[in-house]
Symmetry: C2
C-alpha cells in the first residue's frame, strides 16, 4: 500500500495526499482533507519512512552510542538508567531510537551516514578517542559524561569534582584521617579523573597529605575468584579507615570482597560510593553515596538534542547535574 493507492482511492494525486499527511492544510480544501484522512484510517496506511528519509535526508532516528564494555552493553546499571531517560523523551517526541555499542568512532560514522540519523547521544567516551570533530559538522551531537578540552559540542555531565570533594570531606568530618580512593582505570580527563581531583582537594584543604601510589587504587575488574585481585584490595585497605569509591557498582563489589575476608563494614572500614544507583540501598550495609539523578540526565540529553535538531540551534550550554550526599550505613564516625 503506497501513497498512490490512497490517491487513487480518493480520486486525487499523490501530491495532495502527501500534503494532508504532512499537515500542509493551507494547500488542501477541508473537504479533500477529510476524504483523504478517512481512507487512510480505513486502510491503515502507514507511509514508508525510508522513502521519506531518502528525499528529506533526515530520518527522525536518534542514534545512541555506548562504549563496548567488558561486562556487556547494558549490564552496567548506570547505562541502563541513562537509556531509560533517553528513551522516554525520544518516544514522547516521536523519534526513533537506534542503539549501537562501539569500539571506535568509525562504527559511528557508518550509522550516521547509513540511515541519515538526525542526531546522536554519545555516552561516556574518553576524550582522546574523539576523532577530528569536523566530520560531525552536519549532525547534532550531545555528549554525556565526556570531558574533552576541545569538545565543541554540548556535554551533559555531573558535579563530579564537587561530589567527590564532598564525599571525601564527609569521611574527613567523620574523623577519618587515612582515606583512599578506588576506581576503575583512570583516563585523563574523564569522569573518574575529575572525581579524583575532588578527592585530592578535599584532603588538601584539610591539610592531609596525598600520595598517589599509596592512596589511589585502580582496578580493571573485580574477579571474585581471583585471589590476587582480593589481595590488592586488602593490601590497599590495610592502613586506612575509609575509602571513597568512584562508582557504586564497584563500591558494592569491594564491600563483598572485604566482607568475605572478615571485614565488618563500617566497623572495620568505612566506604562511600558515587552515583546512588538503585542497588545501593538494597545492599548490606546500605551504601552511603553521592546521589545524581541519572534518569534525569538521560532526559536532558535527549531534550537538548531534539532542541538542536528542530531549532537548528548549536549553542546549547553545557549542563552539570547537581550531586548531593546521601547518608546511609556504610560510614562510621570515628572518635578522635
Amino acid at each position: 500500500m503506497t501513497i498512490r493507492d490512497i490517491a487513487n482511492a480518493v480520486g486525487v494525486t499523490p501530491t495532495t495526499v502527501s500534503n494532508v499527511i504532512n499537515g500542509n492544510y493551507k494547500k488542501v480544501s477541508q473537504k479533500t482533507i477529510d476524504k483523504v484522512q478517512k481512507v487512510i484510517k480505513e486502510t491503515g496506511y502507514i507511509p514508508n519512512k525510508n522513502a521519506r528519509a531518502l528525499v528529506k535526508n533526515s530520518s527522525k532516528i536518534i542514534g545512541v552510542i555506548f562504549p563496548k564494555t567488558i561486562e556487556g552493553f547494558m549490564q552496567n546499571p548506570f547505562h541502563s538508567q541513562i537509556l531509560t531517560g533517553i528513551e522516554k523523551v525520544i518516544s514522547a517526541k516521536e523519534y526513533y531510537l537506534m542503539i549501537k555499542s562501539i569500539d571506535t568512532y568509525e562504527d559511528m560514522y557508518q550509522l550516521m551516514q547509513n540511515w541519515s540519523v538526525d542526531g546522536f547521544v554519545i555516552l561516556s567516551l574518553i576524550g582522546y578517542q574523539l576523532p577530528k570533530l569536523e566530520k560531525f559538522k552536519d549532525v547534532p551531537v550531545v555528549f554525556i559524561d565526556t570531558y574533552y578540552e576541545e569538545l565543541k559540542y554540548i556535554n551533559i555531565g555531573s558535579e563530579d569534582y564537587e561530589g567527590e570533594y564532598n564525599a571525601a570531606d564527609y569521611l574527613l568530618e567523620m574523623g577519618h584521617e587515612s582515606i583512599g580512593f578506588i576506581s576503575y582505570h583512570i583516563d585523563y580527563p574523564s569522569v573518574i579523573s575529575m572525581r579524583l581531583n575532588g578527592f585530592k582537594d578535599a584532603l588538601k584543604n584539610k591539610g592531609i597529605p596525598f600520595n598517589h601510589s599509596n592512596d589511589v587504587l585502580e582496578i580493571e575488574e573485580i574477579n571474585f575468584d581471583d585471589a590476587e585481585c582480593s589481595n590488592r584490595i586488602l593490601d590497599f585497605v590495610k592502613n586506612k579507615t575509609g575509602i571513597c569509591v568512584s562508582a557504586d557498582i564497584l563500591a558494592i563489589e569491594i564491600m563483598e570482597v572485604l566482607k568475605d575476608n572478615g571485614y565488618s563494614i563500617p566497623d572495620d572500614i568505612s566506604i562511600i560510593g558515587f552515583d546512588n544507583v538503585y542497588l545501593s540501598k538494597l545492599v548490606n550495609p546500605k551504601l552511603t553515596t553521592i546521589n545524581q539523578d541519572i534518569i534525569e540526565k538521560g532526559n536532558i540529553a535527549a531534550e537538548k538534542l531534539i532542541n538542536m535538531i528542530e531549532k537548528k540551534n548549536n549553542k546549547e550550554p553545557n549542563i552539570k547535574i547537581p550531586t548531593n550526599l546521601v547518608i546511609r550505613d556504610s560510614v562510621k564516625k570515628i572518635n578522635q
Copy 2:
C-alpha cells in the same frame, strides 16, 4: 557523496559500482573491482541505507519491543540483560537495532511498516494482548517469555514451571510446611502463572493443601513509604515460614520490607527468588534463587530470528532455557 560520484571518479556506471559493493564479483572484472574499491576506500563513501531499504524492501533493522513498565523501560535488570544478549548477536551479524517500548501493538505495526524492519523480538508481552497474528505474516517474529496457546511464532522461554516447582520443593525439603507465593500481578497464561503452577504442584505432590487466597499474594509495586503495602506483606507472611517469590527483584524488595520491620532472614522467614539476577548475590543475606541464563536467552532469540530472516525458515522450534537451583543464604533448614 553518492554511488554516482564513485562511478564518475572511476569511470564506470553506478550499476558496476553497485555490483562491487554488493559482492557480485562474477559480474565485474578484477581490475574494475580493484579500482572501485580503491576509490571507495579513499573517499570513505558509505552507501545510503534508506535508498537501499526502499528498493529492497528490507532494512537489516531488527526491532526489539519492550512492554512499557511503571518503573521505566530499562530499569528492570531482567530486561537489560536480555537486551545485552540481543545486542551482542545483532551487532556481530551486522544488523541494526531499533528499540521501542510500547503500550499496544499498534505502535509496533508502525515501526514495522515504517522502516521495513526485517524482524522483531518481542519481550514479555501478555498473550491476550496479542492481536490477530495474520498481520505479521510477512515479518519474522521471535517472542521471549510469552505464553499464548494460539501462538504461531517461536517463543524463547524458560523452565518456569519446573524452576518454581524446584524452588517450592526445596523449601519443603528444608522442613518448611507453611509456605506462600508472592508475585506481581498474575496474568493467565504468563510466566508468572506458570511459575505459580509449579509452586502448586510441588505442594500437591507432598500432600500439602493449597488455598489461593491464603497462599498467594499479588503486589503491583513495592512502595517503601506506603504502610499499607508493608502491612499486606507482613500480614501475608505472619503464619508462614517460607516464601517463594516469582522474581529476584521483587524478592529483594520484600526482604527489605521484612528487615525494616524487624524480621531476620532466614531465621524468622526463608525466601527464595527466581532469575538469579546479578543483584541477588550482592544483597544481604545472599539470595537463594532459581538460575536462568538471561543473556543466553537474548543471544538465542537474536540468533533464531536472524536464521528465520536469512533462511526464510519459519519452523524453528520453541526453546526452553533450563533452570537450576542456586543455594545461598536466604533459606534456613527447619528442624521437624
